[in-house]
Symmetry: C2
Subunit: 482 residues, 2 copies
């Protein structure tokens, strides 16, 4: 099969970022075994390395959901058409991309069933059944599942017909509580993105044009990819009583009045894997954020055949694992050390430790950090603590590097020309009059959209809309987006 | 709303087991908030309490899968009809109960897509793509997901159109390795059932009639419910090269020959929640096995308004949680202590701790164990260790009680009359000639089926088949089954 030789070259097969960013992305995710194309149009298979990453992301998010009082549930994957039709704006937004089940076994169904594109309609139907009194509120539920949206153009992780996500759905007695929840979960997402994935994000409110179908207000976090495009990395929605009225979610208040509940929902998905790749990756392949990397440390024994080397490498692995680290010992004798170096760099493992006879003699392991490629001997004595500190430093360095890149690619525009130039390379910060026509015009002219309106509106670059010149209402970001 | 009074009676609303076992089961699972009926025919909604139980079960199983070298992946939920049709016996078994997607967005699909009833066809398609050489083997993957089988008669957890499960799929270079994997995973399931869920199970091989569609051999673990019926609680399958041949999973052996890989699959599902309820439950409701109970200890402060009571209860909770226990402090002032006692008993929490002013004075908490309803004061000093030991004792007691019940309801039969009588009350152990006609006859006459053939065949009660009287080949269990 000539496997050794074939594979020895494989890192070279990654298309350079500068040459074709999109091909670089596809090369990286396929060659590092994160994902593969499924035998169903527009769908993906998440491979073990990609799924292990997703599991770590799930664990970190789920911990935060539970710490903020949420519980997990499982809703069915199918939604009867009549249920989906109850909220007009919602169905208008989703119906064009729904996959329909029309036959069960040998029987043609009396009513079509949608594979969930999202589950507001199911949660609302159950909430209407479960809620009677103010005592039952709030209800704060979440589910982990996959959903289906029949997409025409797909790209693994970023846009596929089926994707994996979590969807939180909550109901509250008052508008204040619902708004608090909407902003709280946005902040949970921001914290997760920044402190776990090392992804700097801009949080703010979406325009009416860009908000979720059926929501009164949508908030998002937006990350910048290395090609300057925006990736919406998580959204939270305040529905007010829109869905409650459509689905009849009423409760008896403390004062004995029948009132509609206030609803929110919020979601993040396997898109975030795409965001990690496109934010941190380089010509060598992946750079995984240490806090979610399936393998945080790879140990490469050098001159494995020499007495004591493998034993010492195994002891090192055990020591690091006992300290809670995720460690791989690569003791394959079918590949050269150089080949292994390339492979683990490509796979983005944050720390490599080489351990050969001389290292052992000197009481050190030779470390290489994936983010800066810097090499340094580490004392074997107390190495678990050293590696933990190194992983934290890698996290911080990756975050700062991504933030510096982003900040260097945010442009302030006061004219359409500046806006046009800015969205070729990154985000544009501008003043906006608040009207839909200006959004449409920017989309049509430059294929860029409004991303969100930051909470801090103080840094307004002009008092006139960058598009139409009328009085400006909002500070807003424009960008091309995935 | 009169909520307090309404609810005060709710334990009484559980139908007695002896009167109507099936109604008792439905009452228990609905009234303890494990599950609800979904607005889609034959589907269920798993509520927070039920899902928390499933999460604990998933964590325990997943840990065991990873410890035996398996990795998780995600396959798509849809299967093109042409893929499903490749293995003839498999499609014959599943096609009648498949839900079909025929439309995506506004477009009628050129080929129908099945919502996965199980994912052999997808795993095999991907394995065929991923495997080249013996070096790539084994591949041992698993996924957690829901699957869809269009059932006519449904019962939450036990049989629903959609259910949640895990499905392991592995490929190996040799028949020996595949068989070893098939039996290893059966033993992982048995260990989980017995040592985590306190469910005694009988493991053995299925007959050809009862095996999985497309498998060469199916093994199962069978649990006995309190009505004497069997519940198949987990299965493992050895496919040999059946699927490899149909899907073209070939590899180059060490000797340079192109060979077909040997495949296995294995699954357990949310059925196990039904098994827990039907094995351990009683007139008061659920009895949850301590190692998966979402709440292991509920603390009920008595005379909460008295100074220091709530503070002490909170400290107790913190102490138990720090020891790794799952604890609920019920400090609601809207319900009476008696009502709370009933509720937590119904919900099956293994240990209740009451804490009132006098208890605090005496340095104790009054404990009640759900399995035996025995009450006993526990010293507050060192209580975390005491409670841990108590939970282990509850696990063992529940297991022994279930095993004693099961063993008392296994009947040996050497005549059809004995078989008939036996399957009214439990399992029947009998000698069997090995032919399909005898299985069909027992099914037709008594609505009982063969469950499995134990590995230890030494205890054969006769040398003649219990049905036809011809020479017996196998020791086998018969039972009515869910």
């Amino acid at each position: 099969m000539g496997k050794k030789n074939d594979k020895q070259e494989f890192v070279a097969h990654i298309t350079p970022r500068s040459e074709d960013f999109s091909q670089w992305y596809t090369d990286v995710i396929l060659k590092t075994d994160l994902v593969d194309y499924a035998p169903v149009r527009g769908c993906m298979v998440i491979k073990p390395y990609g799924y292990a990453l997703w599991e770590r992301m799930q664990a970190e998010l789920d911990k935060r959901f539970k710490a903020t009082g949420h519980q997990n549930v499982a809703m069915p994957m199918l939604i009867p058409e009549s249920l989906l039709l109850k909220e007009a704006e919602h169905v208008e937004g989703f119906a064009p991309e729904v996959a329909w089940v029309t036959q069960g076994g040998n029987e043609v169904l009396p009513e079509r069933l949608a594979i969930r594109p999202t589950s507001e309609t199911l949660f609302c139907t159950m909430y209407a059944k479960w809620v009677q009194s103010w005592r039952d509120l709030p209800m704060k539920y979440n589910q982990w599942c996959s959903v289906m949206r029949w997409e025409k153009t797909t790209l693994p992780f970023l846009r596929t017909s089926e994707f994996w996500w979590q969807e939180g759905h909550t109901i509250h007695a008052t508008p204040e509580e619902a708004q608090e929840e909407t902003l709280l979960m946005l902040d949970v997402y921001r914290d997760f993105a920044e402190n776990v994935l090392a992804l700097p994000v801009l949080t703010g409110r979406k325009t009416d044009k860009e908000k979720f179908a059926g929501a009164r207000a949508t908030y998002s976090m937006e990350a910048m990819m290395q090609d300057g495009k925006a990736l919406q990395a998580g959204t939270t929605h305040n529905f007010g009583t829109n869905f409650s009225e459509a689905y009849g979610i009423q409760f008896l208040s403390k004062e004995g009045k029948l009132e509609y509940a206030h609803e929110t929902s919020w979601g993040t998905s396997t898109r975030l894997i795409g965001a990690i790749v496109m934010t941190h990756g380089d010509e060598r392949g992946l750079k995984l954020p240490p806090r979610v990397a399936p393998i945080q440390v790879v140990i490469l024994p050098i001159a494995m055949h020499k007495e004591g080397v493998l034993e010492r490498a195994r002891a090192l692995k055990a020591e690091l694992e006992a300290a809670g680290l995720r460690v791989e010992l690569d003791d394959r004798d079918t590949y050269s050390a150089g080949w292994k170096f390339n492979e683990w760099e490509m796979k983005g493992v944050p720390v490599r430790l080489e351990l050969g006879p001389r290292d052992i003699e000197n009481g050190v392991a030779m470390s290489m950090r994936r983010d800066t490629l810097e090499k340094k001997p580490l004392e074997l004595d107390g190495i678990a603590d050293t590696v933990k500190a190194l992983l934290d430093d890698i996290h911080n360095t990756m975050f700062e590097q991504a933030r510096a890149f982003r900040d260097a690619h945010i442009y302030t525009a006061t004219t359409l020309e500046e806006l046009e130039k800015g969205v070729q390379n990154g985000f544009v910060k501008a003043a906006w009059c608040g009207c839909r026509e200006c959004e449409d015009k920017v989309k049509e002219l430059y294929n860029a959209s409004t991303r969100n309106m930051p909470f801090d509106q103080s840094d307004m670059p002009s008092d006139k809309c960058v598009v139409c010149g009328k009085p400006a209402e909002k500070l807003i970001y424009f960008a091309k987006a995935y």
